[in-house]
Every structure is written in C-alpha cells, then in structure tokens.
Symmetry: C2
C-alpha cells in the first residue's frame, strides 16, 4: 500500500477508522462458540459489518498466539478474508516486536510474506537495526511505538534526556523519522494524551499516527483530530473493544456496525477540515 | 523454577550455559530436511547432545512464528521433549514482548501455561504494567531487556538522562529491579560490552544476567565472568549459532556437543571462583 493509496481510501470512505480485531475467544457471543472456528466466524461477521466504514484492521498478535497453532490458522484465514472482501484495506499486525537483525528479518517475512500484512508495529528499544529488515520489504510499513496510552508509558517514555528538553518518546520519534519517510513509517501516539500530540506533530508534520485508546481506553476523537490531523489526514484511529464487544447477543454484528458507524460519522463531519 | 533450584542446577552441571534453539529450517543438515518434522528432529538431536552440559534452553520465537502453525507445533513439542529428558532445565521463551495489561496477560498465559516456559524475555519500553501480568504467574520469571548486544543498542539504550549520569539502559535496570527481586527477574546484558557489565552489577548485585553474544556474536566468556559473576553465579550465557550450526553434515549433533562441551569446560574451570 502506498501513502497516496492510503489517503485515497480515507477520502473515499470518509473515514480513518481502524477496527482492532483483538478477538478474545472468552468474550464472543455464546452461540458462536459452538462453531468449529468461533474466532474466525466472529471476525468474518465483524468484517462484513464494518468494511465500508473502516480503512484498516489491526490484529493484536497476542489474541491469536495465545491459542497456539489454531490461533495462527484463524489469523491467516482472517487476513485472507479481508483481502477477498476489501483488497484495499490496510492490514496491521500489532506485534510490538523488536529483535536483532537476523531475527527481525524472520519476523518481517512472517508478517509481510506468510501473512500478507501491510504494516507491523515495532518497539524501538533495540534501535535502528531491529527495524531496518522490515523496511526492506517494498510497499510495507513500520509503525514504531512512540507514545503509548498505558500508565507504564510514564516509566521510561517520559524520561527527560540530557542536553535538551526532549523526552525519550520524542527522541524515539525524531530518530525513527530519519529511518524512513512518511510513505513507509508511522508512529503509535496514545490518544489518552491528546495534548501531547501537538508536540509530536512539530517533530513529524507528515507521518501518519496510529492512535489507540479511542473507545474503551477513553481518548477523545475531537481532541486527537484538533491536535494531530495534517493535510493528508495523517491519522488512523483504532477502536477495538468498544466495537467488538458492544453486544454479546446474536445481534452483535449489527451493534458493532452501529458503533463503527458512530465513529465514521464523526470522522466524516470533520472532513472539510482536511485540506486536499 | 526457584532461584535456589536454578543455582543447584548450575552447581550440579558445573555449567551456566544456555543453548539457543534458534532453529532455522534453511540451515539444518540436508538429510534432516526429508523428515516430516525437520525442525523438531533437529532440536531433539541437539537436546540429546547437550542436555548434560546446558542448564537452560532459549527458543527465539521468530524462528517458530515464521513457519506459522507448523512452527508453533514444533515449539510446543520441543518444550515437551526437554521437559521429558531433563525436567530441571530452565526454559526461556525469547519473545521480547511488551504490550498493555490485558494483552500482556494473554502473552503470559501463552508462554507460561500453553507452552510451559520458565521465563520470557520482555522489552521495557511500555513500562511496569506491561511486565506486571507476567509476574503474577508464580514460579515463572521475567527477563527484561537491559543492554542488548546489537549495534542499534547505541540509538536509545545509551541516551544519557537528565539529572544524573545514568544511561537509559541503567535506568531501565534500576526501575525493573524494583518490580521484582532476583528470584523472579533477570536482565539481558549484552556480552559484546563486557566492560559495561561491572556497572550493571553495581545497580543489581544479586539478579541473574542473561548474556547473549558469546559465540557467533564474539563476546568473551572470561571477561563476562570477571565482570558479571556474583556469589550465586548470577550468569546465564547463551550460545546459539556457534553450537547449532557447527557442522552441517550427518555428524552435526556430535559437533554441537563438542562446541557445548568447550564452553561448559571453560565454565567448569572458573567454578572455584564461585563462592558458596
């Protein structure tokens, strides 16, 4: 997926919504649990109900890995299903990996070749050579953790660095942006801290931000748009639990669509603000 | 596995060697590739050849994940095989994970319950709440990335922090050690930087260090022991490629044993230095 291709999808769907397929087998409606592949059936229903409203799907690997080989099969079939329904959807493996070169190359092959994701989330701690092998796959993206939305973000990301007023997360974003341009790299920027997103925009005016924390984690869409939007939108907003588990009856997919539609409608009304 | 149990194994085997089962299907001897489960057969042969010389086995998840569901099966069978051959071996999932609470809890269940590992490596970037769920599994360990052995360690780990002379990796180790004692937590400390291990020992005199970078990555065993050993050994030294791929003929297991024996012999001669 190219930068322009992604922007076209955003304009066409009037949406920058990402649906997080963090599918917890213990939380899906009981009638689905009798199926031979409950997680895959659930994902298909959610995808059917949301693909015209969302430009991206993000799968958190933990939810699939925790079910071993069966989970990996569900993940692979889910990617195939989205590709068949909507070939232009942007598919994110939320893996938060980070390892030395030869190992990173294996992870890159897993997510980009075995599983055909467009992007993978990476942790910056091990530095550039842990990221570089992912950038060698043309047309694929790295989404680097910058500022996360969990309480533990305070522990290290907010440490102030010597010789300047930067926090660690700002330095991570500054260096990361030098590894790849806005057409190959994005950054995670937690929405529970919308007031900090303006600061991030000063460092990287053009890169997309992947914003978790809307919905179940309580971030404000309006605030994030006000501080984070740029002239190519520049935002992908993720919602997982608030859409997936909006309802646990047989009508779960309809309710999921309602929740996704609420977000897409809000995004759509903001669209005149996008200059293009 | 308890701290004392681990130390007993070290004394009994006169070894603090960890064999890294980073099994690359493209690198294993050609005659094994005809088998229906070449990676599992290779791992079994390596385990048979080294289990009296090694106190730990570390599986880097990328090598298994890159092969999807089949890789996960191989990993699960490998863990079972080690448990059957040597129930007291210390089993490390080299996963370098780090994610928000509910996701971390799923990863913890995967590695500690589904797969019965004793320890998992974690990245510190997302802070304490990304680590805490792993510590809720009694008898299991967290191995936090402190100082890694790759070139990219320079990018962020060596950043100096304001108000003090600490580098980021030192602050990570200092805070991490407050989350759990030496009986539940270890730290990765890259052996290519043995001169820095003395500094780490001043921050955490009692915690075990998991040291990669001996062998293929070129660290010096003697230097690491001189700077890093404490009165309960306090070191687990990993070697992967130098043992696994010492030979690619039918005699690979014998050659792997030779390489492991060389390291164990060197460790054994150092043993009078361990006070106990």
């Amino acid at each position: 997926m190219t930068y322009e291709g992604l922007y076209e999808q955003i304009l066409k769907k009037r949406s920058f919504l990402c649906v997080g397929l963090d599918t917890d087998i213990r939380k899906i409606p009981s009638q689905l649990r009798k199926s031979s592949s409950p997680v895959l059936d659930f994902n298909r229903a959610i995808i059917d109900a949301t693909h015209d409203l969302a430009i991206a799907y993000k799968s958190n690997m933990a939810f699939y890995e925790s079910r071993g080989a069966a989970g990996w099969e569900d993940l692979a079939r889910t990617v195939e299903y989205i590709r068949a329904i909507d070939p232009s959807a942007f598919l994110i493996a939320d893996a938060k990996r980070g390892d030395i070169g030869n190992t990173a190359a294996l992870y890159a092959r897993t997510f980009f070749e075995e599983l055909d994701f467009d992007a993978v989330t990476l942790s910056p701690y091990m530095g550039e050579d842990s990221v570089r092998p992912f950038l060698e796959h043309s047309g694929k993206w790295v989404i680097l953790l910058g500022l996360t939305s969990n309480p533990g973000a305070e522990d290290f990301q907010f440490l102030r660095l010597q010789n300047g007023s930067m926090h660690l997360y700002e330095e991570v974003i500054r260096q990361g942006a030098a590894w790849a341009g806005p057409d190959r790299m994005m950054f995670v920027a937690g929405a529970t801290r919308a007031e900090l997103i303006s600061g991030i925009r000063r460092i990287i005016p053009d890169h997309f931000l992947l914003v978790p924390g809307i919905g179940a984690q309580g971030g404000s869409l309006v605030e994030v748009v006000r501080t984070g939007m740029n002239d190519h939108c520049g935002l992908i907003i993720n919602a997982s639990r608030s859409i997936l588990y909006a309802d646990d009856s047989a009508g779960f997919a309809g309710k999921a669509r309602e929740k996704a539609k609420e977000l897409q409608t809000a995004m759509s009304t903001i669209f005149p603000q996008i200059r293009h």
